[in-house]
Symmetry: C2
């Protein structure tokens, strides 16, 4: 066993007085944590506890709280003694009583919520609001000062911690990892984040694995494997674990103080070696394993059942004090055991001795500005996106990969913002053709390198591109990065962005509360998700890679925080990306492919179009401002190309036809303005889509989404939406379009079907169109490729 794995108890960094102070601080935190679960009155127990002091509905989670308050009290000591800059991330489920108690004790809570002042009346309000309707939650919700991690859904604490310390060389994120949480996939792989942390440029994460022993109703895996096995696992993850184990508070304080001192010493030594001595070896970062009883210091037994140190302490340990006198006595004995009279002064404020133990000002964990990252946020230094525009002399004349163009823009965003912007992607930055970014920076990589990595590997200790084959970890890093006020973009294969559906949901919920209800939270940079390697060019990868349904998940979230853009070409993508990178407090979803696609709009036209978000393309229309026979609408690159080609076919077949061509970039323009800030008024919508003419809408994703956004519109009954219908396998691109009926031929057939004047006289044209479909499918199957001309055969000016 190496030195680091020695039990820490043998070293005694604490004086007896310090130990007494720490213990008192911890008792005060625990008292508050228990008090907020139970008490609606008599918060300081200045009179005997009576049923009417007990809340009507007992909610909240005691189990994880005392372990967390223990770690928090010890972090305070380090911050004060060493002048550290620390944020705290609470991974275990329902850990809010601990963080709330800590924030209340150090005064940060009252600074933000003056009515919950540090006095008896304020404490009573503080208790009452906890887990009460109209009050605050039992997770570290956005309302919690000092929190950037709610933890309602488990598994993202470590990734959030790493995201927070990237490019913050002096910051330490102390991340309490729940042993239940540790069973989730996202947490299990996030340990490997240490291979992506540069000790020169980045701060440090101090993981504290809390072996609390139990989940809701089960032991945890990591608490029930032998210690050697756990040590082996953590060392295998690349850490040096320090164990703090027991239940005797005095012993535990000494162990914890020693372990924390050692960890900070090791962190500083690693940083010194890297920063001063130029040591480029990968450090084995220290961490703590805190094995303490679940519900520590709470009641040992209730109703004949073991509670402390067992899963029965997960929520409310004593269930019925308002109605059972014996329970009331047990509760009172438990709470008085913390001796609140020693911990709070006459007025009900924390005793001076405790106040002296809290850090000051912004060094308080509850008030650290990194946990309110908008405060520290600097706007990006943006290159002029117009400089990256591709020339388009004529619409639909040449092919360009939109993401390749975007890559050049992002390259210069990276260059101009060397400590403020990162690009995230799961081993796909090159595949997604953003390769130009490597001219500015490599991929962060602290693990071993080999000579052959020089050949296009682009690995760098200080790279700005973050690649790991875990969408969960990337999204977690990215969230931690923006929550602490920095900027980024995450590029993912479209089908696999579903992997982070639930993370997106949770971040959108956080954003909504922070943005709409918490004025003290400064706006943070948006999460920018570039959805690429799109369904229509996943013909070769097959059915598993064809899923454009993420947009349906996005549209369920609050209109205040979500935006969806489908730029049809490279210049539009530039305009959209520039806009998104400048925004705050959104999740921006940008759908743009990596394959070469036709280009339609020159620089200025693209800007005009994207600024409106929706518009008529007059050069592709034949209605000349008159009421059209048909509106051909589209959103998405391939959908646009096929819609244009369909118009071309219809023009040839029926030269007199009046067709209006509408392209949608900003998807929420389709919604009513009463339902979404980007929505069009009914009048504007009708002026585009008419009141009664057939609309063929060729959509990138599942067609139901367009119906969902437009069902209240006057002309909705005439909307005929084509989109992905879950038909695919190994195909050619055009075959895939045909199978799902988003191709030019099916669109033209649909137009003939829905334009009353063509229903009869269009029969011959429909026959010809059906022949075309069969011919193309035959060719694709025989040759394994599309007919060479098919993509070129579009509007030719």
């Amino acid at each position: 066993m190496d030195e680091a794995a020695q039990p820490a108890e043998h070293r005694q960094p604490l004086t007896d007085e310090e130990l007494r102070g720490l213990h008192a601080y911890w008792r005060a935190s625990n008292y508050l944590a228990a008090g907020m679960i139970y008490l609606r009155a008599n918060p300081l127990l200045r009179e005997p506890l009576k049923p009417e002091h007990i809340k009507r509905r007992l909610l909240g989670h005691w189990g994880s709280s005392p372990g967390q308050t223990f770690a928090l009290a010890h972090l305070n000591r380090l911050i004060r003694q060493r002048g550290l800059n620390v944020i705290y991330i609470s991974g275990p489920g329902h850990g809010a009583p601990a963080t709330l108690a800590h924030a209340y004790l150090d005064g940060g809570y009252s600074d933000i919520y003056p009515d919950r002042s540090q006095d008896e009346a304020g404490m009573q309000r503080f208790f009452r609001m906890f887990s009460s309707p109209g009050g605050i939650g039992s997770h570290c919700t956005p309302e919690t000062p000092g929190s950037i991690h709610e933890g309602g859904e488990l598994g993202y604490s470590l990734a959030h911690g790493y995201g927070a310390v990237f490019d913050n060389p002096d910051l330490i994120a102390a991340v309490m990892v729940g042993d239940g949480e540790a069973e989730t996939g996202p947490l299990a792989t996030a340990w490997h984040s240490n291979k992506f942390l540069d000790p020169v440029r980045d701060g440090a994460v101090l993981p504290i694995l809390h072996l609390n022993g139990y989940k809701i109703a089960n032991p945890t895996i990591l608490a029930r494997i032998p210690r050697e096995e756990l040590t082996s696992l953590l060392a295998g993850y690349g850490h040096r674990p320090h164990f703090v184990e027991g239940d005797d508070p005095q012993m535990m304080h000494r162990q914890m103080a020693a372990a924390m001192d050692r960890c900070i010493d090791e962190i500083h030594a690693i940083q010194r070696r890297a920063r001063q001595d130029g040591d480029t070896s990968r450090p084995r970062w220290p961490m703590i394993v805190l094995r303490s009883p679940k519900g520590w210091t709470g009641p040992e037994k209730v109703g004949g059942h073991r509670v402390a140190g067992f899963w029965r302490s997960h929520q409310v340990p004593i269930p019925d004090p308002a109605t059972n006198p014996e329970s009331l006595r047990e509760l009172e004995a438990w709470l008085r055991g913390y001796r609140p009279e020693d911990l709070f002064d006459e007025a009900g404020a924390p005793a001076q001795a405790l106040r002296d133990l809290a850090p000051r000002g912004e060094r308080r964990i509850s008030a650290n500005p990194h946990a309110n990252g908008g405060l520290l946020c600097k706007a990006l230094n943006m290159p002029d996106f117009r400089d990256y525009a591709v020339p388009v002399q004529q619409p639909a004349a040449g092919y360009i990969s939109p993401t390749e163009v975007l890559g050049r823009f992002l390259r210069d965003v990276i260059r101009r913002n060397p400590t403020n912007f990162r690009l995230f992607g799961p081993d796909e930055t090159a595949s997604n053709r953003l390769t130009a970014v490597y001219e500015a920076s490599g991929k962060t990589w602290m693990a071993q390198t080999l000579p052959e990595d020089q050949d296009g590997g682009h690995l760098a200790r200080d790279g700005r591109v973050m690649e790991m084959l875990s969408e969960h970890t990337l999204e977690g890093w990215f969230e931690g990065y923006v929550l602490t006020g920095r900027h980024g973009l995450f590029a993912s294969y479209e089908a696999f962005v579903h992997v982070i559906d639930s993370m997106f949901n949770q971040h959108a919920k956080w954003l909504e509360k922070a943005k709409l209800e918490l004025a003290w939270r400064a706006p943070i940079p948006s999460i920018n998700l570039l959805i690429t390697s799109l369904v229509w060019r996943q013909d070769h990868n097959g059915f598993t890679h064809q899923d454009p349904g993420f947009l349906d998940v996005v549209c369920n979230k609050s209109p205040e925080v979500v935006r969806v853009y489908l730029p049809p070409d490279a210049n539009c993508l530039l305009s959209v990306a520039d806009h998104c990178l400048r925004t705050r407090d959104y999740v921006n979803v940008i759908v743009a492919d990596k394959q070469p696609h036709l280009q339609y709009l020159d620089r200025d036209a693209a800007i005009r179009h994207c600024t409106k978000g929706i518009g008529i393309w007059e050069w592709a229309s034949t209605d000349e401002g008159a009421e059209p026979d048909l509106v051909m609408a589209c959103a998405g690159d391939v959908a646009t190309m096929e819609a244009l080609a369909a118009v071309e076919i219809l023009r040839h077949k029926f030269p007199e036809l009046k067709i209006r061509f509408v392209n949608v970039v900003d998807l929420f323009r389709l919604m009513p303005d009463t339902a979404h800030p980007h929505g069009l008024s009914d009048r504007d919508f009708d002026s585009l889509f008419t009141a009664d003419r057939p609309v063929i809408f060729n959509f990138h994703a599942y067609p139901a989404l367009v119906h969902r956004l437009t069902y209240r519109r006057r002309n909705h009954a005439n909307f005929h939406v084509h989109g992905y219908r879950e038909r695919g396998n190994i195909n050619t691109p055009f075959e895939l379009a045909i199978l799902n009926q988003i191709d030019r031929f099916h669109l033209a057939i649909s137009a003939i079907d829905w334009i009353p004047a063509l229903r009869d006289r269009g029969a011959h044209a429909k026959e010809w169109l059906r022949d075309q479909i069969i011919t193309h499918l035959d060719h694709a199957h025989a040759e394994g490729i599309d007919r060479e001309d098919i993509r070129d055969w579009v509007w030719s000016g």
Copy 2:
């Protein structure tokens, strides 16, 4: 270093002849794997290679293939020599060339697809179909004989392997884990599955971690940490790793054979100790670490770049043989290096010597019936669900927890199917009130137990309830379990089922292909997802726990394979669950809460109602068969309760009003019959919802979903859907309903607004309703609970 970690090369189980045979088999596999990427003609290279022999579009992935064919060739040896029963799961991305080559060589492929026969013409067809339009994919798609794991989305191989061997004591799942895949969260935690494998009752998983070294364009983490660190990690996961490392085929064959022999010996020893000696200690299961060059045996250099042993061999190593004569020569030299003339006979069939090395019949990996699990599937022995029905004398008179009732039914399903059914849930079976199941069986747990676990812990080595705090692992186990022909049910908190959105998508895609296109795949039991701890009773857990959007993800998948049920009460839940457990080839989503809810239908009424899936509740209606003034529709428990209460209010206020009450259980009844097999015809739909009367639809989930399903209906413009509007925090249940306007008062207001006759004379009633809302919100905030009467105040007969 313990004995198990010794390099295996020192033991030599192979004779020289065996080694030659293995090597020839491997060469043949590699030849086929490379051939299918490149060749459209001249499959046996019987003439000089020419450009016209090369496919028009080169697709497929060479990189991972030779390592996989290597493992497969060695598995054949074990199967033959020891009579093992083995399935193979291919974790690395795009591993299909390996598995396809193997299936073609052992004849299993031709058995299923006779046109791809074992002769020159068949081989040519086999090559042409690979990654060609209308052909087969580059993953182990459902079309692949012997596959239960497509691997298009990475991360689920290990969990699938464990699911397959549960309750299959003689089966071994050899799971090739890609080192890229190993970076995903789901894979990283799935290693802990070994704590849930009972060596008595279950088979064994043999993980083969393939240190291929590279992903698409990056090294992998696990290949770039020191070997001691990797050993430590794997030992920390609870495994005994055996390393096979190198690039010299002869050495590697000897190492691999020795390692595989040792692993099988260890597996058998573990099983013997547990089964015969009653050893109850947790085994450390063996595994193999295969470190071999990516693109092994392929070209070393192409265009001056390193290819073999590097990420450049990921896809098509030589990109341009059809157009570049030098490349064509390189390709020919590479392919001829395998000496196909020695490997295939005159007709083009594998040489007799190779055939002799393949297992026979169902022991071939390509033909193992466990990988076509429907073949082995036995129907569940079902208790009569009617026996579990709760008495309902009168609708809406008493509260019962639906899942508690379901728990009793599931208890007896478990009792009657002791080796054929499992219940899955992430630490929530008790929380979700399915606790009756513990009367039949405990929770599988092979890790350490403590005396206090006796107190309600329900841990058991042979438990039928699977609990781990990883929805990914559970879903993976469950999929592996049903894909091998067994049954189950997975209960999850509603908000967190989004964690497995992408797994659901992938399984639904697999099912669709297997069901609609592959007659040889026998139907498998359905995935039954019980979505519980529902949004409307997550008032206390807050916003993070409120997300009913999984249904939107489900509705994007093929109507042939997805079903959604929202039983309004316990008897309906029983009827629905009984139906779902009997079905094949679906994903059934059942939405039912754990909290006590009002009961409406007695046993027989519930069966009638669920059989129809949608229906008028006459006892709650006042239209007496006449054309109503209003249709009040609903789906979901709380939505139904509030809709009933709204009708009651309207009845009191406007006794002459004719209201029709419609409840929806089977959500897809709302769709047109042309779009979903469960859809109603327009005529039936209109007869329920009328052609022109206002419909207030109170929906469990996001309201847009109802619009999406009904937008084509004649009366859709009069549908006014209430549902979750993403408004919530810490609330009371009724407050949460009010915030989202699914409560009785808002429904009644909506009815008054939309019934033309009430618009004027309803003003007074609306004022009263608004007062009620304010009063209830005030009360909830003051007391922290709902007004006691609010839930009871519903239709009273």
